[in-house]
């Protein structure tokens, strides 16, 4: 029989038992819908985590000093403080693949403006900070290299600080705030960046030239904690890393065999780590949903077995007038696949709908990918073939004489 005729036979068989066909389909619909919705939620979560990580800046790398060693006791990473401001200036001068580099001196301070006050952190950074973090002031300007060199008392406010000290929508450029009783002139306000991947409010910050912060708040130490740098492009990250490494090794006079006394962390490492963990979550959600698809498949097998038993006489008639085993096999297999495919298609619709409802009511981000829809269709067809095969095979092996005699 041609495939078209087999398909017609399958559809008319389904038409005869509408209730049964739709209940069988329901198993597949729920299974596929669950897979689609769960994967959409998982991928949505992944996408939003990645977006949060990207707020740090896309080409960013972080350089940490190595560990200190005091009489056999190893300190943690960054405890050595062996990278100096001079190292940073050397990197800025010598490394062509580095777009910007800044030390960060951070200090927790109480800030006062008029009768308002606020506790926040002041960060001493270089003038290339806006390039590194892809974060330029929305109002006013960032401080210049000149400001850094002469340690001017100017600052740029994060949105949270500006709002808490002055209220929303007020012009703050040119105002002066007092940071630990030192007056700082506000020259810019940064646009809102939101929370970081760790959940910290990135807008709760005051930025000032690192020279100023170093002198006034960090005890004039030349030792730097964390250093941020960025490559000129995503493709140049590796090169930038190599160049920085080379400069630091030379300046720290490290021999061929000696290990680095610093660590360079890439932004992409962090996002890969996050992707891996959210990938595990997606797989977990998907496999839980996959179990329900499996149950749906068993439902198909169950119904197909009943259907074969019910139609033994029909099978006998068909065989007597010339149907071969493979014709009968094809007939029942196509029937199972049609049920599961239609169920799969409806399931995709329901899954997409469910994902939309979840994202609207619970506020979770969801992302429906084309690949998960294609996967849903393929998977439901596979379920139909896999669970339809045994009943169909059983039907095809019937003996025509017994089948004709069956009551």
């Amino acid at each position: 029989m041609s495939l078209w005729r087999i398909l017609k036979v399958a559809l008319s068989a389904m038409n005869r038992n509408k209730m049964r066909a739709s209940l069988t389909m329901l198993g597949i619909i729920i299974g596929v819908a669950a897979v689609i919705a769960m994967v959409a939620i998982g991928q949505g979560a992944n996408a939003s985590i990645q977006a949060q990580i990207a707020t740090m800046g896309t080409n960013v790398m972080m350089i940490f000093p190595g560990s200190s060693r005091t009489g056999g006791v190893m300190g943690g990473m960054g405890s050595a403080s062996n990278i100096t401001v001079d190292d940073i200036e050397a990197i800025a001068k010598q490394c062509s693949a580095v777009a910007g580099i800044t030390p960060t001196f951070r200090s927790q301070v109480q800030v006062v403006s008029g009768n308002q006050n606020w506790n926040t952190s002041i960060q001493g950074v270089s003038h290339t900070y806006p390039i590194i973090r892809e974060w330029s002031p929305e109002e006013g300007a960032f401080f210049t290299e000149q400001d850094v060199r002469s340690a001017t008392k100017v600052c740029v406010l994060g949105k949270t600080v500006a709002e808490n000290l002055f209220g929303e929508g007020m012009t703050v450029i040119g105002e002066t705030i007092r940071v630990r009783n030192l007056p700082f002139r506000i020259i810019g306000v940064l646009p809102r960046k939101g929370s970081s991947a760790m959940g910290q409010d990135q807008d709760d910050v005051i930025l000032a030239p690192y020279t100023t912060v170093q002198k006034k708040f960090s005890g004039n130490s030349n030792r730097v904690g964390m250093i941020m740098a960025s490559a000129t492009s995503p493709a140049a990250i590796q090169e930038a890393q190599d160049q920085i490494s080379a400069v630091l090794r030379t300046r720290h006079k490290l021999g061929e065999r000696e290990e680095d006394d610093f660590t360079i962390r890439l932004q992409s490492d962090i996002s890969q780590m996050a992707a891996a963990s959210s990938g595990i979550m997606t797989a977990l959600l998907g496999s839980v949903a996959g179990v329900s698809l499996l149950v749906g498949g068993i439902g198909i097998m169950n119904i197909m077995l009943v259907s074969v038993t019910e139609r033994i006489r029909e099978i006998g008639i068909r065989m007597a007038i010339g149907a071969r085993g493979r014709d009968i096999l094809a007939q029942f297999l196509v029937e199972a696949v049609v049920v599961s495919l239609i169920g799969g298609l409806i399931g995709i619709g329901v899954g997409v709908g469910a994902a939309k409802v979840v994202s609207q009511t619970a506020g979770w981000p969801t992302m429906i990918s084309q690949s998960s829809a294609v996967l849903g269709v393929l998977f439901s067809a596979f379920v139909g073939i896999f669970f339809g095969f045994y009943p169909a095979f059983k039907a095809s092996r019937l003996d025509p004489i017994d089948a004709l005699r069956y009551e």
């Binding site: 041609s2 005729r5 029909e314 007597a320 007038i321 010339g322 014709d327 004489i401």
Partner: protein, 255 residues
């Protein structure tokens, strides 16, 4: 002339647990083209086993079977399915039509397994329905048809692939006597048109309409006799004191 059926020393043994049941104990028989043969015998005589083997539904334990000149004794399942489709038209006691399927679709069924194009399939199915006098019932389902009409649909189905042999297993077993004569009339007409028909029955009333009676007993052929003057079903039907049959009215006059 090649015989339609030629069996030699046909033996069939069923193994029922420890017991061997000898259903056929060396049957030899020939049926020539154009013959109308009744196979008779009590239950257990081996006639059903013989019919299953002749119908290529089963294989003999030993012996040979040539159908239309082809040795089919050792064919596998698929080959036998093909032979059944092309060479044999089955008619059963219980009609064995597909329920919830129209007369036209039922008649088309053998052609679906014979890769006949849809257009020709419909044409041939309609012709076959016309030959049994059911041209106006093509859209009726089996449950909308009387027993006699259902059997006529089954006969039409047996005809569509123009088989070498029509094999009817107790075709009148579920019909009243009048309808039985009607159906036998159709067989007689088909036989006059040149079809070879083998009919299994246990009623001698029915066997009278055929041209040859073969009796089975205990797995042997015990009797093989030609009937010189078979009864004419069409004439008998006209003699019955009820309404005329539309089928036989359209049949050509008996010679």
């Amino acid at each position: 002339m090649t015989p339609v059926i030629a069996v030699r020393n046909l033996v069939k043994v069923y193994h029922m647990g420890d017991v061997d049941v000898h259903a056929l104990r060396g049957v030899s028989l020939e049926v020539n083209p154009g013959e109308f043969v009744a196979i008779m015998g009590a239950s257990g005589s081996g006639k059903s086993t013989f019919m299953n083997i002749v119908g290529c539904l089963d294989r003999p334990t030993s012996g040979q079977y040539f159908l239309d000149g082809v040795d089919v004794s050792d064919m596998d399942r698929d080959e036998r399915a093909r032979i059944r489709n092309r060479k044999i038209g089955f008619i059963f006691q219980g009609f064995n039509l597909l329920s919830r399927t129209t007369a036209l679709e039922n008649v088309s069924l053998p052609m679906m397994y014979n890769r006949i194009p849809a257009k020709e399939m419909k044409k041939r199915a309609l012709e076959a329905l016309k030959a049994v006098g059911l041209e106006s019932r093509e859209d009726h389902r089996p449950n909308q048809l009387s027993g006699g009409q259902q059997q006529r649909v089954a006969i039409a189905r047996a005809l569509v692939n123009t088989p070498a042999l029509i094999l009817a297993d107790e075709p009148t077993g579920n019909l009243d006597s009048r309808t039985s004569i009607e159906v036998m009339g159709i067989f007689q007409r088909l036989n006059r048109e040149g079809r070879t028909i083998v009919l299994i029955t246990h009623e001698s009333d029915i066997a009278r309409y055929t041209g040859r009676v073969v009796r089975f007993k205990d797995g042997h052929v015990v009797h093989d006799e030609r009937i010189e003057q078979p009864h004419d079903a069409a004439a008998e039907l006209l003699a019955l004191p009820t309404e005329e049959s539309p089928v036989l009215a359209s049949a050509p006059a008996a010679s």
